[in-house]
Amino acid sequence: MGANIDLILKIAGVGILTAVLHAVLEHAGKKEQAHLATLAGVAIVLIWVVQLLGNLFDQVKSVFRLF
């Protein structure tokens, strides 16, 4: 339970951080870095979510014996 809610808060934190970073970098005239920061944030969160999804599919497979 604790780890799971942690993950949701972590994802939201990364999202807000990337949004702020994007705004700041764009304001400083560094469009390239702004896009790279966004891409990095999306990649990090995507890795977490894919791991979580794999966990979910394993659970469903073991509950319904889908082998």
Partner: protein, 131 residues
Amino acid sequence: MAALEIVQIVGLALVAAVLVVVLRPLRPELALLLSVAAGVVLFLLVVDKVAAVVGVMRELAGRAGVNALYLGLILKIVGIAYIAEFGAQVCRDAGEGALAAKVELAGKVLVLVLAVPVLVAVLDTLLALLP
């Protein structure tokens, strides 16, 4: 115990919903991933209960003398339907209705493939009944 669980689940969903709404105008792609993660976490919280219910169903079926093959088939179909529905809803959330329809179609086809042996068994029984 179950009453406390529902409070936990509703609280988690509420927090996740607020975070998604905050994030959507800033970073829509991260908002989508956040809502997927929240959905998975909510399901993982109740999957243990589902497993317990499925165990009871298996035991009842064994006691009633139902062929274990058929119950396993039904459970497999339920699992496929759940996963397909999950994927389709994620696609629909992302605004990809066409992709969601394809995922649903794939789920239906896979369920049909699993159900073919049952259909054959029914037809065999019918043929045996005919003189």
